[in-house]
């Protein structure tokens, strides 16, 4: 069953938990030991997750590295984990970003270091679990359990308004998730008393059932993405979270929403997907434009990047609901890109915040004079974020717009304007921070050190790698995406005649 000979996904998922337990038991008032142990745990996790990429079989759409064990037989709940092309890439993104976050928090976190590292590692286990779970019950456990460490990260190590932000984050996400729980239980009974995700895909559920359960899942994921108009928790959470919290939030947590669409909404409720495509596309392009416009007027760097996330995630959902190969592959790749680029931008903001204790754009200016290396790296990520050709953002956005253009022309046209706006707010921000006059109080600033460079360089490499040679990343997606489209089309064509108008609107381009 498992082509590795050992339970690689279980090891990867629970290695951080093991690290957290070791830190809990071993560390007594020794912050450095906690840091080194967390680094070791996250590094080991990253290393043992690498074979997922190298041993990945690109020729099949089946779940890989599958492990299956009974867990709660009375409810037919099983511990099933496995990955396909989509989740494999997200697992690697998670293990890489967590490792980087541990390094990035080395000096920024001085209070309760032991507890911080434990929370970060528990969060990693939660996130990995969400991506590898192939049992709905297991998925939901990880999905909700993950809220606890993130809530604590924002609430304990956050900024001045952390309480409000932490509670808002928790309640928003929870409120969205509880209805998904109802959906999950309904699926269990409708789908033949099973929580197994693969078995629930492609079942001919009645349309009305699909409609409601699609909505229940959609709400949970749309809040997580966050799609306009469910995004209001995001700026608060980002601004108040510590740097690593923002990186994880932007890099991984937001991806869970779009991952949920891909894993559940599309393959399980194809008829409902066809029905909801247009409204979701409208929300996507609204998010693209709205996020970009709001980002433009922000005075706080973190808020600016937070709103840019709303815009970028709008592209992702635009690509996914284009419902063709280019759109889906572009959307998935853009999930990865957004994790890399936005994660890196938050790290950059964190670096400058540690030096100046401000994030206001007005407090900066002329930083190129004092921090040339920093400014160069920041430039790379800025350009990647606005989608300069040769960098990762371009590949993703290009594919998304190509896909959207073939199936839903009008939304592609509107979405494209988001790229122009993106260039505007990113370049304007860069100009105000890096060029112009150097403020006297910033005279003494020193450039980044090796540790800080080490957090940014791997991401810079990825920016160019995906930008210039995306094939290694796209090739693992081909089979998965093709299979996903088969599942979406199989049923929606079946009901296309019944749904009449919907079929014409939703699939006019294919």
């Amino acid at each position: 069953m498992n082509n590795m000979g050992y339970p690689i996904l279980t090891f990867t998922t629970f290695m951080p938990l093991l690290g957290a337990i070791v830190i809990l038991l071993l560390v007594r008032n020794n912050d450095n030991l906690a840091r080194w142990l967390a680094l070791a745990a996250s590094a080991v996790t990253f290393v043992i997750s690498l074979p997922l990429m190298s041993s990945f079989d690109k020729t099949t759409h089946n779940m890989q590295f599958v492990e299956s064990k009974p867990w709660i037989p009375s409810w037919n709940v099983n511990y099933i984990v496995g990955v396909d092309g989509i989740s494999m890439l997200l697992v690697l993104l998670t293990t890489l970003l967590t490792l980087i976050c541990v390094v990035a928090s080395w000096k920024a976190i001085q209070k309760h270091v032991k507890e911080y590292m434990i929370a970060l590692l528990l969060l990693e286990t939660g996130m990995l679990g969400v991506f590898v779970a192939l049992d709905l019950f297991l998925f939901y456990i990880f999905w909700e359990a993950m809220l606890i460490p993130m809530y604590l990260l924002i609430g304990i190590w956050g900024g001045p308004n952390k309480l409000y932000a932490a509670v808002k984050f928790f309640l928003y996400t929870l409120a969205g998730s509880v209805l998904m729980l109802i959906g999950i239980i309904s699926l269990y009974y409708q789908g033949g008393h099973t929580f197994e995700i693969v078995k629930l895909m492609g079942q001919p559920f009645p349309y009305e059932f699909q409609f409601w359960v699609f909505l229940a899942f959609f709400l949970a994921f749309a809040i997580k993405v966050p799609m306009f108009p469910f995004h209001t928790w995001l700026p608060d959470a980002h601004v108040e979270a510590p740097t690593a919290g923002s990186v994880i939030l932007a890099g991984v947590l937001l991806k869970m929403g779009t991952y949920g669409f891909l894993r559940f909404n599309l393959p399980m409720f194809p008829d409902a997907t066809a029905h909801f495509t247009v409204p979701i596309l409208i929300l996507s392009v609204t998010g693209i434009i709205y996020g970009a416009l709001v980002a433009m007027i922000q005075k706080d760097l973190k808020k600016l990047i937070a709103y840019s996330s709303v815009s970028h995630m709008g592209f992702v959902t635009l690509g996914i609901f284009a419902l063709n190969v280019q759109g889906l592959e572009g959307g998935i790749l853009q999930m990865l890109n957004h994790g890399v680029t936005t994660g890196a931008l938050f790290l950059c903001v964190g670096i400058i915040y540690e030096r100046t204790h401000t994030r206001m754009i007005a407090d900066f200016g002329g930083l190129t004079k004092r921090l040339p290396i920093y400014a160069t790296l920041f430039m790379i990520f800025t350009l990647s974020s606005l989608g300069l050709p040769g960098m990762n953002g371009f590949v993703g956005e290009f594919l998304i717009l190509l896909g959207a253009f073939t199936s839903q022309r009008i939304y592609a046209v509107i979405g494209t304007s988001g790229i122009i706006l993106g260039a505007a707010y990113m370049l304007w921000m860069y100009q105000r921070v890096m060029f112009m006059e150097l403020k006297p109080k910033n005279e003494h600033l020193i450039d980044i050190d090796w540790r800080e460079a080490a957090t940014l360089l791997p991401l810079a490499v990825l920016v160019f790698w995906i930008g210039i040679f995306p094939n290694p990343f796209l090739s693992v997606l081909h089979e998965t995406v093709r299979h996903l489209l088969d599942q979406v089309n199989a049923h929606s064509q079946f009901t296309a005649s019944a749904a009449g108008v919907l079929g014409n609107i939703g699939f006019g381009g294919r």
Partner: protein, 480 residues
């Protein structure tokens, strides 16, 4: 016809053991010096342990004894298990607390044991009369416990309020029993069911009797609109008694409620389903919403306990083996998490510190990481967040509701548990994210540590490996 023989005494050995230990404690209390009273607590624990061993030993499937007054089945055994755990944990968290409150007297433990024996009779009652006797035995003991702090106005108020309203609700229950006796000519649950089955009865009278009994039991399980007493009594009673009351008598109330309605009144299930569904919705709504505005943690937990009665009633409404076993499992899990939460509240009570306001928890995480972490676990469990037992309990409840076609109840339930997260989170927030306002000097002692360790391990273990408890709950309702 059932008959009586001396051999039947062996079915009530656990009850006899509990009562014997209670009386022994009363007598010994006169001889135990003031500074050695905690040995009485340990003696009570021994009694509970022996009774538990006896209950586990009585593994026959389904026995009716004492002219059909007493039944020993999986259902009763499961509830007795809950009572033993509730009483044992309550005694463990009391040992130091009663000393601090200067109410360390032997009767305290004896009364807990008498209450437990009453609850056990309720769970095993196969006749309305024996159920009523058990209920009164339990209630009278708990009335006294609620007023155990004789010098405290609030405690006296709590006891008086509890007693008056409790007596009133007992009267209503008894009225319902008398009507059903008038209609069917029997108080035996199976007899009532058989009579109704035969079809010669006055339906309005039967429904009236059912409503009156629902009101009586609704009072005991603290369901809205019979909840008026709960906040005041929970606040005024000694905290350890509150902890016990919120799990033991509530579970016993559910035991009798479930037994009477499913065994005696299955024929009018459609009628009582609507009534209990209404109680469930009101309890979840009012319990959770009002809890948000509480500043006193005991009052907050009181409203939370109302809300949890609402969740349990969702399982009750769902009915069938699945629904009833979900109630059983929920009450089992609730026992650990709620007593655990009260345990941490008690730890804050020391010397001049009252520790009952939520703001008293400010900065607890700085001073005592373990206590704060435990409270965090219990709060998340009460909120129903995985991987804690609270989630498993709620999941099973909502699962049976959806399976039984009560989708709307499940939706209200999950939305209300999202609301509840707000006030449980506030406690965590205050503990972890606020600066300490006062010096903490936590009252911690071995028995408290043991109770909290047991509760927290149970909450986490059931949260991750619920299989054993689920199977036990399902097997327990098999004979019902």
């Amino acid at each position: 016809m059932p008959s009586f023989s001396v051999h039947e005494m062996r079915y009530i050995v656990p009850e006899l053991v509990i009562i014997a230990f209670g009386m022994a404690i009363l007598v010994l209390d006169a001889f135990v010096p003031k500074d050695k009273k905690r040995w009485l607590a340990y003696l009570a624990l021994v009694g509970i342990g022996i009774a538990a061993a006896q209950t586990c030993g009585l593994r026959m499937e389904h026995v009716t004894a004492f002219y059909g007054m007493f039944v020993l089945d999986g259902f009763a055994r499961f509830f007795k298990l809950i009572f033993y755990i509730a009483a044992a944990l309550a005694i463990l968290i009391s040992v130091n607390y009663v000393k601090v409150e200067e109410i360390e007297r032997g009767e305290y433990y004896a009364l807990i044991l008498f209450a437990v024996s009453g609850m056990m009779i309720m769970a095993s009652g196969a006749d309305l009369i024996s159920i009523y006797l058990g209920l009164e035995l339990m209630a009278l003991s708990v009335y006294i416990l609620a007023g155990f702090m004789r010098g405290s106005m609030k405690s006296n108020e709590a006891a008086l309020k509890y007693f008056l309203l409790g007596a009133f609700s007992s009267g209503i229950l008894l009225y319902g029993i008398s009507i059903i006796y008038g209609v069917t000519g029997t108080t035996n649950l199976r007899g009532i069911a058989a009579f109704i089955q035969a079809g010669q009865f006055s339906r309005p009278a039967l429904v009236l009797s059912m409503i009156l009994m629902a009101a009586g039991f609704g009072f005991k399980v603290a369901a809205v609109p019979f909840h008026m007493w709960v906040p005041d009594v929970y606040e005024g009673a000694p905290t350890s008694v509150t902890a016990f009351m919120s799990v033991g008598p509530k579970a016993a109330g559910f035991a009798a409620f479930l037994r009477v309605f499913t065994e005696a009144l299955p024929s009018i299930q459609a009628d009582w389903t609507m009534i209990i569904a209404t109680l469930a919705i009101m309890s979840m709504l009012i319990g959770n919403v009002v809890a948000i505005s509480q500043t006193n943690i005991k009052r907050m937990l009181a409203y939370s306990s109302i809300a949890h009665a609402g969740y349990a009633m969702v399982g009750f409404v769902s009915g069938g083996m699945q629904g009833i076993s979900s109630v059983l499992m929920y009450l089992f899990i609730y026992t650990f998490m709620n007593v655990g939460a009260f345990g941490v509240v008690i730890m804050l009570r020391k010397g001049g510190m009252k520790g009952e306001e939520i703001k008293d928890f400010a900065g607890l995480a700085r001073k005592n990481k373990t206590a704060a972490l435990l409270m965090l676990i219990f709060m998340f469990s009460l909120a129903g967040i995985p991987p804690t037992a609270g989630f498993i309990g709620k999941f099973y409840i909502f699962m049976s509701a959806i399976n039984a076609g009560f989708l709307w109840l499940a939706i209200i339930g999950v939305l209300m548990s999202a609301v509840s997260a707000y006030f449980y989170l506030r406690v965590i927030m205050v503990m972890y994210m606020s600066e300490p306002e006062s010096e903490f000097d936590l009252a911690s002692n071995p028995s408290m540590k043991l109770a909290l360790a047991v509760a927290s391990i149970a909450v986490l273990y059931i949260g991750m490996y619920p299989y054993g408890v689920i199977s036990l709950a399902i097997n327990s309702v098999a004979g019902l």
